[in-house]
Subunit: 403 residues, 2 copies
């Protein structure tokens, strides 16, 4: 029998308890021994909940108990998760976490501490919820040099954009309904402004590189400015608008990372990842294109990934699983040099002649029921060049494309 | 430095050499030491090819060389691959293979021999080519009870069905072109009759269960009877016809496995897996739906998966990676009890009245340019019931559906 402790009895924490109870037979078989929840830490009380029997309010009880070998950190946020995790690793306990803020900010450091203490710091659930992506990146795609990672990494925004597309509703209307249904937080900023996706692409890029990508260096744009009209244009282009976190290894030797809404072709593997689902597209120089798809959030899918990490931690007691993520910081490529095709809406005060003088060859798109404006797709050009050129036209909106 | 040997210098074998040469810096970093190809075994000579320097014709040179720690078996077939693999494992060498025939027939036994010798038998490339699926099933989906695995597991048949769909051509025409292009073998039986997919779903189901599923117990139907007209009907139903290998854990406690062409909804995650791509859909009782997508065949994608296994074998020298696949054979559920909705084409000598008397409520489909027949979708019913009922109508064709 191996004893574990769960820090935080919120959505994911209660999911972890549920998964371990429900699938105990198969989990114990896969782990090679019985997984026992000795403690659950939460500041709150849960009168009447079976968790009461193992509930503690004081972390020192857990960290000082030599019987506890694995700690599940599902509190979220940096404080006190960072201190708790560090103390646990230093006390010779492995830690499994779903906390993307913690991993993005301190992943490299915590991995080094785990290695020094011959324990493990595992974080499969921090990206893509239940989708296996961290372990495949670490252990399966090891023969390839990664050339691109592009993901739909946030279920809330993908749900909003999917609903806007399917039902022709505005961002505000859909957000309101998502909040009522509990799919979006009352303060939706971390999702709709792209901050959540930003941490996740930082984690994936760091793992692919083996070095630290600071999430604060990644240009991040949310979906709040996307309108019904933009979605209509996308449909006319046989495309979808998706919030993507993307990192590309370009020929200049630099890595360009960004979080922003993109128009992608409906035939792209990510083009049919709709609703609360996430999809993570990876290109390797030998493997070619691959994609991982599944539920990127939610109590049980996320808990499933956390518990899979627990099973791995049990199987690797006394062995540190090699994970290359050094603390040296990577200098990302300058966004001004990132190139893509842009979708641009302009007021019809700008003539097509002007457009072509400024942008060269473009592809026009018009919508029958939209007046006073038209739109076009540029050829591939850099962000820097685009920003210069767009000053010369009456631009209403621009969206990057992967078309 | 660690020495390896490659058995077979065909498509995959030469791919393995290419991947190791091309990505040597990152592979050596991930492996923690230099991976050196000491021998390549092939009966043929390759005058002028750099492989000449390490080419041997006699396996005993390799298996008796204590410096060789890892053997890559990419010859295919059972003989002599089975004997070579067994000898290697018994000599304390890990084996990485892409050989689905070998793994389907002897996987459990070879894993047991590897365990007894404290080495590893790895076979990521045996299913889904470059798609990471074996390792995720073994190590990532460990908190779940699997309820379904359904995959597009054969690139050749998926290419043929995709071309038939996109270009309105017949099976024979597309097969011929695929053979000319090298996408299909001159003897295409293993692909088009579903035998290849059968071995792959047997491997995946065995791993999910931890027990032996005998591929010979799996009902297998190929795609040779699928016509242009079937494809037209599928389009009218907003569906695609895909050759699926599927295993379902049903409420009666049984597992139903089958390989057959199915009509699936275009909105299903597998509905957009086209061309030579493979997709493997897995449902877990906690995780929900997840899918793995990528190139299921081809020299470099397959070699990429083999080399990732080599990296894993290097990292796990002296440790057996726990893989639960016991030799006890599983009794699959009787196909007569497998239930689905059937798509049925009947000659118009059978009246709709008769159809409804026999099948109850059905959903009719007609094509404007097809005469003398019509089609319908049944409600969900078992194979056994369907076979009985279908005797009472002038059936032209039936295709199972996941609609």
């Amino acid at each position: 029998m191996i004893n574990i402790a769960v820090l935080g009895y919120g959505t994911v924490g209660s999911g972890v308890v549920e998964v371990i109870n429900k699938n105990h037979a198969s989990i114990n078989k896969r782990a090679g021994q019985e997984v026992n929840i000795k403690y659950v830490l939460d500041l709150r009380d849960f009168p009447g909940d079976p968790v009461e029997k193992v509930l503690v309010h004081d972390y020192s009880v857990i960290v000082n108990d030599p019987e506890v070998k694995i700690i599940v950190e599902v509190m979220g946020g940096i404080k006190p998760a960072y201190d708790f995790t560090k103390q646990a690793l230093e006390a010779g306990k492995s830690v499994c976490t779903s906390n993307k803020e913690l991993v993005a900010a301190h992943g490299a450091e915590l991995l080094a501490i785990a290695k020094a203490n011959n324990v493990n710091f595992l974080f499969e659930a921090s990206v893509g919820g239940g989708i296996p992506i961290i372990r495949p990146l670490n252990q399966s795609l090891t023969a390839d040099e990664i050339t691109e990672i592009t993901g739909i990494l946030n279920g809330t925004t993908n749900y909003i954009l999917s609903k806007m597309t399917d039902e022709g509703k505005s961002f505000e209307e859909v957000l309101k309904r998502a909040q009522e249904k509990g799919y979006a937080e009352r303060n939706p900023e971390a999702d709709v402004e792209g901050y959540d996706a930003c941490r996740k692409i930082a984690i994936l890029t760091s793992l692919a590189l083996g070095k630290q990508v600071d999430y604060r260096d990644i240009y991040t744009e949310g979906i709040t400015k996307i309108t019904k009209t933009d979605i209509e244009y996308a449909k006319a282009l046989h495309a979808s608008i998706k919030l993507l976190g993307t990192s590309k290894w370009e020929d200049d030797g630099k890595i360009y990372s960004m979080v922003a809404p993109f128009m992608i072709d409906s035939d792209h593997p990510l083009g049919h990842v709709n609703g609360v689902f996430n999809g993570i597209f990876v290109n390797g120089n030998m493997l070619g294109d691959t994609m991982f798809y599944g539920k990127g959030a939610g109590k049980l899918p996320t808990a499933s990934a956390v518990v899979a990490d627990v099973v791995d931690a049990v199987k690797h007691q006394g062995t540190n699983i090699m994970t290359i993520w050094e603390q040296d910081k990577v200098e990302l490529g300058d966004r001004a040099n990132f190139a893509c095709r842009f979708f641009v809406r302009v007021a019809d005060t700008t003539s097509k002649e002007t457009i072509e003088k400024v942008f060269g060859e473009v592809e026009y798109v018009t919508l029958a029921d939209v007046s006073g404006e038209y739109a076009f797709l540029t050829e591939k050009l850099t962000e820097g060049a685009f920003e210069e050129k767009s000053k010369q036209v009456d631009m209403i909106m621009r969206i990057r494309t992967a078309l």
